[in-house]
Symmetry: C2
């Protein structure tokens, strides 16, 4: 290399064409490696081969960009959960099927947390300014957000007669709490660095607890 080392996709057109998505994509890569703090506006624009200020034509703020990246990460999570369910072997009966689908929600959640800790933290990052409404565009390929996937699985448990109807209300908060808490333990807390096999076992235990205690 002489002086200019351009591995960046330098464009010849003045307009980028798809800058908004390019920035989100670059942000996702940064987040994957370093979590929410690594989503640096200038770095994203650099990756997109564009001046820093160009980002402001598509996001009001660094926070707005980070939020978009966060939503994209949440969508990744949803897809992982959907994939976990899709990979399920056929169950013996409808009851077992409902149960399997429920457990797959938790298993997929935990798998994503371990395989993509940076994206996971980014998905649940709370913006400094606070006050963001409910779910924006965090759905997977089925159009459901992670939370909605959990709700659907719980509904399945009720239909299958596994979960009494009077225990259904608010059940997603119980289940989500336990699984999310374990995820935090696994990627940041004292269970960090656990062997994947053991982590999987821990996941089984927590989901067992949920089934018993829900």
């Amino acid at each position: 290399m002489t002086a200019a080392e351009n591995n960046k996709p330098k464009r010849d057109t003045y307009r980028h064409g798809d800058l908004r998505n390019a920035l989100i994509e670059a942000g996702l890569e940064l987040a994957r490696q370093g979590g929410p703090a690594a989503v640096v506006l200038r770095a994203a624009t650099r990756q997109a081969g564009v001046a820093p200020n160009a980002a402001y034509r598509h996001f009001t703020d660094r926070n707005a960009l980070l939020h978009a990246v966060s939503q994209a990460a949440m969508a990744h999570l949803a897809r992982t959960m959907e994939a976990e369910q899709a990979a399920l072997p056929p169950a013996t009966d409808a009851t077992a099927a409902a149960r399997d689908r429920f457990r797959a929600v938790g298993t997929g959640y935990l798998r994503f947390a371990q395989e993509e800790p940076g994206l996971f933290r980014t998905a649940f990052h709370v913006p400094d300014d606070m006050a963001h409404a409910a779910a924006d565009t965090a759905a997977g390929t089925t159009g459901k957000t992670p939370f909605e996937l959990l709700g659907a699985a719980l509904d399945g448990l009720v239909e299958a007669g596994i979960l009494p109807e009077d225990r259904r209300p608010g059940a997603e908060f119980l289940a989500w709490s336990a699984v999310h808490g374990l995820a935090a333990l696994l990627i940041d807390g004292p269970l960090r660095g656990l062997h994947p096999t053991q982590a999987h076992d821990a996941g089984r235990h927590v989901i067992d607890m949920i089934e018993r205690g829900i």
Copy 2:
């Protein structure tokens, strides 16, 4: 005021005398208001009435300072949990007492998360560089870390015959997961802004689930 508005404790001695603690204290206040991201080195030194670089005589890094603040926040959490147990009304029998003490661990944890969300997030903040060993100096007045407090309460359940001994191993991870997950839901997630009374109810439900499912 004319030109110099010094509400800062300007000192006359060249040495500060207790800068390390002053910085941690300032950091705690910053964290209380804005979480880990708000722990800004220069702001802390400003508050301590000292030049930015003075901090480097006591912390190698901004990360080191943040870590110290995090440990201090964890100690706060421990004290809140201890206080929750101390405030317990006398139980009717030993079994009820063990149970009450166990539940107080979770209740205190959740109370701290809601009353001091900034400190709570800071306590569980994972440093960007990663690789920090186990618990440093995060103990409360009894000398126990939050995790150890939970372990002691679980031991109490076993002694009281409430929890079968073969279920004891790893039980702290189940309990901690569920409670921590709820805390995350309450301060960052979809349960944010819940009325304290409702939040307390949610806490009861989660702890019920733990008792049933552990």
